[in-house]
């Protein structure tokens, strides 16, 4: 695969991730990390580091504006949660360093699966 094709492929992958990001209100890392590993052959740690780069610019901006104009943003809660996320993230990154790529990948998969099953099943019960 030459580098132009590869870049185009990355853009296509990111575009798909973006649709999921706007649809589910997430930053996109959830889907970007597995796709970088699966489609583009990234190592798990590099995929996670690169995903964090992709999330530095406000990539959710356009999606956020759509939610804001629909009145679907709680500003107070948002502002108070932010600082914790910032400092917690540094602790989490430190912890990730301690694990091998394989164990890290599986641990993240199990976490996602658990939250996903919990979300889907409680929504169905209502």
């Amino acid at each position: 695969m030459n580098s132009h094709v590869r870049r185009l492929l990355i853009l296509v992958v990111a575009r798909i991730v973006g649709v999921a990001s706007g649809l589910f209100g997430v930053g996109g890392g959830t889907l970007l990390v597995p796709l970088l590993v699966l489609v583009l052959g990234f190592d798990q740690h590099v995929a996670q580091g690169t995903s964090l780069v992709a999330l530095v610019p406000p990539t959710g901006l356009l999606a956020f504006l759509n939610y804001a104009s629909a009145g679907k943003v709680n500003w107070t809660v948002g502002l108070w949660i932010m600082p914790g996320v910032f400092f917690g993230a540094m602790a989490g990154a430190h912890f990730a360093e301690e694990l091998s790529s394989r164990i890290l990948r599986r641990a993240v998969a199990v976490l996602l699966l658990a939250i996903g099953i919990w979300e889907a099943s409680t929504a169905l019960r209502k």
Partner: protein, 141 residues
């Protein structure tokens, strides 16, 4: 109440750094279950919180270990920006309950994708170029 928000943030943050994600995946369920927000409100608030680069501190730690592909990360950001516009348009037309089911399914799919590591399809030389940064870290790979 504000203390609760701060501690939710801290807990979510640990997972953000650990998983290399923006935090929405953990933030949204936390806001829906602990703070009793509706799904749309939780998703909108999650996107609001991700406007400033909350993962920056974590990113710097990955960077120190050479586990970051800066250029490809930037290309990803461009694609996500554009895709996000269309995704959010879709979400606003969907009921809160359906949206939550889809959110759960989305995470299950992401988890399954992540579990399986594919055999490298690239030639050896090319593969080395991608993973060169990782190999700088003795524990990586």
């Amino acid at each position: 109440m504000y203390l609760l928000y701060l501690s939710i943030g801290l807990l979510v943050g640990v997972l953000v750094g650990f998983m290399g994600v923006g935090g929405g995946v953990i933030l949204i369920p936390a806001m829906v279950y602990i703070l009793r927000m509706d799904q749309h409100m939780a998703q909108g608030t999650s996107l609001f919180m991700q406007l400033p680069p909350l993962g920056l501190g974590a990113l710097l730690m990955y960077r120190k270990k050479g586990q970051v592909d800066l250029k490809e990360g930037v290309i990803c950001a461009l694609g996500i920006l554009a895709g996000g516009y269309f995704g959010s348009k879709m979400a606003i037309g969907i009921s809160s309950r359906d949206l939550r089911e889809m959110f759960g399914l989305f995470m299950i799919v992401a988890a399954v994708l992540l579990w399986h590591k594919p055999k490298p399809r690239e030639s050896r030389g090319r593969q080395n170029e991608f993973t060169r940064a990782a190999s700088l870290n003795p524990r990586g790979g």
